[in-house]
Symmetry: C2
Subunit: 250 residues, 2 copies
């Protein structure tokens, strides 16, 4: 039986991954594993007095978050939570600040579902420890979790520019399926058996990127930007060593 | 007795380091270790019918390789090889393709001199092994060698933009002296006790940088550039593991 795939989140990145996956499942070697229809779940939202889901389904474009990009017709948008009960693989693409809204899906998402989190960031606990989004999802839904991270500008990925992402995984089955689903000629996926490593580097690199942007905005030169990058990477390493000494990417 | 400092190479980077060092030795805490006069040695060269060394000494600017940048008056340029017999610390800033010309200094450079190589690249041997420039210098002159590498555009360093460099060292004395000589408010030096690591990463990163430039020139997006950078760093790591398994930076 073919697997049903969906994306939670109709934002920039969620829609882009919906597009990527909906195109991928049509490819001959991938089509035998997955159903052609891909579900894109988003909260009820309006754009110019029209429901965003209606625009996506009828006009095949996400005018609010990914305007100008034609979406494949096998990408079907809904705000019906019950639709997700059927899904075997779900890409979780909610913005970090709304992540706890995922609990609305409790009792709906199947126990043997595979979740692929693309949520950047982590939950910081009062005792100074951190909880990874992947761990939070695993605890909440008791199912298998992978993470997909990369230095990706959604619009560029959507336009088919050559990009890459890194998949952090724990078990072979979810790795194989996620790889099949996500890897394409333009979007190259590297698999690393180290979820904390991939997830944390994926999140923390954004802080370094912010630093680089600030420095550029302030008129500093490329040398300064590179200094921020190198020191930023060293700090990411320290962070990993402190919180996840067992991580392979430390 | 104060130490005498010099630079071999009047190119872009050699002149910039001459400027950096000549400014540094005037600072109160540094001045007690080094003589104020810094020697810049270059081969006999002409610029608009005038000797380059004469222009540097009289007009305090290297019109050929670092035009528009005012050089400190305590930086003294010469093409007299015998002047180097006196030096205690020499920054070797010859372009890679001319490195073997350094053998002209055999018997002139003092045995207890410290050489700081900023030469990018290495010597590839017929048996597929490589010889580091630092090793070649050490074998040639039997003296202590450090390396200084960084993602530095010479002109930006010369203009005092915030930059950083990494010093690879082997023994504490040459580390301390090199750090004193090179570190400044704008040019931050990090010391790493791993010469092969610093030297090879410093050289190989330029290949990655070329790749990034090509990709930019071809009109690819930032995502693609970042993919080249990440994969390039992975390949540098493999290179280090293969040739210098003992290197700390692998």
């Amino acid at each position: 039986m073919k697997l049903k795939v969906g994306v939670i989140g109709t934002g920039n990145w969620g829609t882009t991954l919906g597009l990527l996956v909906a195109n991928n499942v049509k490819r001959p070697n991938v089509a035998k594993y997955f159903e052609e229809k891909v579900t894109l779940w988003g909260i009820e939202e309006y754009h110019s007095n029209e429901l965003l889901s209606t625009i996506i389904n009828l006009e095949h474009v996400n005018k609010k978050y990914l305007s100008g990009i034609r979406l494949p017709e096998n990408l079907f948008c809904t705000s019906e939570i019950s639709v997700c009960a059927d899904l075997d693989i779900i890409i979780v693409a909610m913005p970090h600040q709304f992540i706890k809204k995922i609990e609305d899906f409790k009792g709906i998402i199947k126990r043997n579902c595979i979740l692929i989190s693309v949520v950047k960031g982590f939950i910081d606990n009062p005792d100074k420890s951190i909880t990874l989004i992947s761990t939070y999802l695993k605890n909440t839904f008791k199912c298998k979790v992978c993470v997909l991270m990369g230095a990706n500008i959604a619009t560029e990925v959507a336009k088919g520019s050559v990009c890459e992402g890194t998949l952090g995984y724990e078990d072979e089955e979810s790795k194989e399926l996620s790889y099949l689903l996500l890897n394409s000629y333009n979007y190259r996926v590297t698999c690393v058996k180290d979820i904390p490593g991939v997830e944390l580097v994926g999140s923390l690199k954004n802080i370094v990127a912010l630093g680089c942007g600030l420095v550029e905005g302030l008129g500093y030169t490329g040398n300064t930007k590179v200094a921020i990058m190198r020191n930023g990477l060293m700090e990411i390493r320290k962070f990993l060593k402190y919180f996840y000494a067992e991580s392979d990417s430390r």
